[in-house]
Amino acid sequence: MTAVGTVAITIVLLGVFLFVRGALAAVGASLLDQIEVSAYLRADASPAQVAAISRFLALDPLVASAAYVPKKQGLEELRERTKGTIDTALLTENPLPDKFRIKARVPDDVPALAASVRRLSGVDNVVYGQKIVARLLQLGAVLRRVGIGVIVVFFAVAGIIISNTIRLTVFARRREIAIMQLVGATSTYIRLPFICEGLIDGVLGALLAVALLSVARTALWPRLLEALPWAQLAVTPVDSRMLAGELVLIGAGIGVVASWISVGRHLRT
């Protein structure tokens, strides 16, 4: 029972971590999805150069979509965006250059794409919120790496707990095990009850964890949303049913592996 409780707590922590990681990744991904690359053209760019850039963008596999935005349209959009805050009627002439608005297929490719576009002749400057993209990409990489580390640690902790419990049971029944071996029981036959115990510990722990997590989710999630209106968490970033399934599978797996190992140590003669 202690094993079940401790495994449950471990898996609750793991579940919270996976959930937060999922949420952060989803927020990051949605921010990255909105990233646009603006390639501003030189004022003296020739139509031939514009056509060449257009062709390049159409052929580049990194590009999801690209649109030519002449400066007139750019100004319209600017007016639209700044309505009520800046009076664009004060402008005597259009200060904007022509540009291409480009979206990358994959956020990670944005810096490379921007660099290759900048090298095209007729392109004056490329802007895409370099700093934000760099940060988000870095965050994503860190989350992935830390995530793997944390998951490994949680696995190890839950595994050690279960294998210790099983080792106690094995120790209590060592006489019986010795006699079983003596009369010709196979190691699978001897292992099976202990594996079952480990499996049950793991699954019960995980189920308890899932129950606790779902209570926490229904009770705390709405308040969290209220408290953090700036965070774009309104969309459910993580499929909670799948997460529950994963946690139970993880619990079962840890239980089986841990008990397998701890009985195995005892069977070696």
Partner: protein, 236 residues
């Protein structure tokens, strides 16, 4: 049935338990292994049921090369052997019946066969009327008979006994010895490690004496001490 060729056993702590032992035991034989404590009697038995592996040499038991046996084949070997110990090694929370049936169940035997075989061996050892009792409620002799029933329940061709009468009084010792003899008459090869002189001298069977890990003497119809007859003649 059993053959050892140049068998040497050195334990990890450096103790040389057996040193170049050669021994053949034929089918249906009854053999006493005698010798002082620590001369390798138990080690020899442990080699036969593959509790330990020899450091050198060849061991064949019922056609199985035991020295080369892979670990996952050990259960198959043990099902051909019955093993009995000084301390009985019974499960105290199981009845006589359950202790005996247990040895069949772990091999995956059908319940039908268990129900047929267990009464047979309990009858052989004379414990049918105590099949529902627990080891704690039995005398030492009865506990050892339970252990023998368990050893026999899978119909082994070989019965190995390590000091089977070591914990028993003379009356129970006689009883167990008679039982072992009956089992041997049914065709089972029996190997008994003992230092009970009375048992060995009364039975007059083959006696293999170990001394410091080597076979010192090997006599048909022997006595516990080699040349006892001569000394008896001299003194009597």
């Amino acid at each position: 049935m059993i053959s050892l060729r140049g068998v040497t056993l050195v334990y990890p702590n450096g103790v040389r338990a057996l040193d170049n032992v050669n021994l053949d035991i034929a089918k249906g034989d009854f053999v006493f292994l005698v010798g002082d404590s620590g001369t390798g009697k138990s080690s020899l038995l442990r080699l036969l049921y593959r509790e330990v592996k020899p450091t050198a040499g060849e061991i064949v038991v019922d056609g199985i090369r035991v020295d080369r046996l892979r670990r996952n084949r050990v259960p198959a070997l043990r099902r051909h052997l019955g093993v009995v110990f000084q301390d009985f090694k019974l499960l105290v929370d199981k009845t006589v019946w359950e202790n005996v049936a247990f040895a069949m169940q772990v091999t995956g035997a059908h319940t039908r066969d268990v129900m047929r075989q267990v009464p047979r061996v309990l009858d052989l050892v004379g414990l049918s009327h105590k099949s529902r009792m627990y080891p704690g409620e039995l005398s030492g002799g009865e506990q050892q008979r339970t252990a023998i029933a368990r050893a026999l329940v899978n119909n082994p061709k070989i019965l190995l006994c390590d000091e089977p009468t070591g914990n028993l009084d003379p009356a129970n010792t006689t009883e167990i010895t008679a039982l072992l003899q009956r089992i041997n008459l049914k065709g089972t090869t029996v190997v008994v490690a003992t230092h009970n002189q009375a048992v060995v001298d009364r039975m007059r069977r083959r006696v293999v004496r170990l001394d410091d890990g080597r076979i010192a003497t090997d006599e048909e119809r022997g006595y516990y001490y080699l040349g006892l007859r001569e000394s008896q003649i001299l003194s009597g």
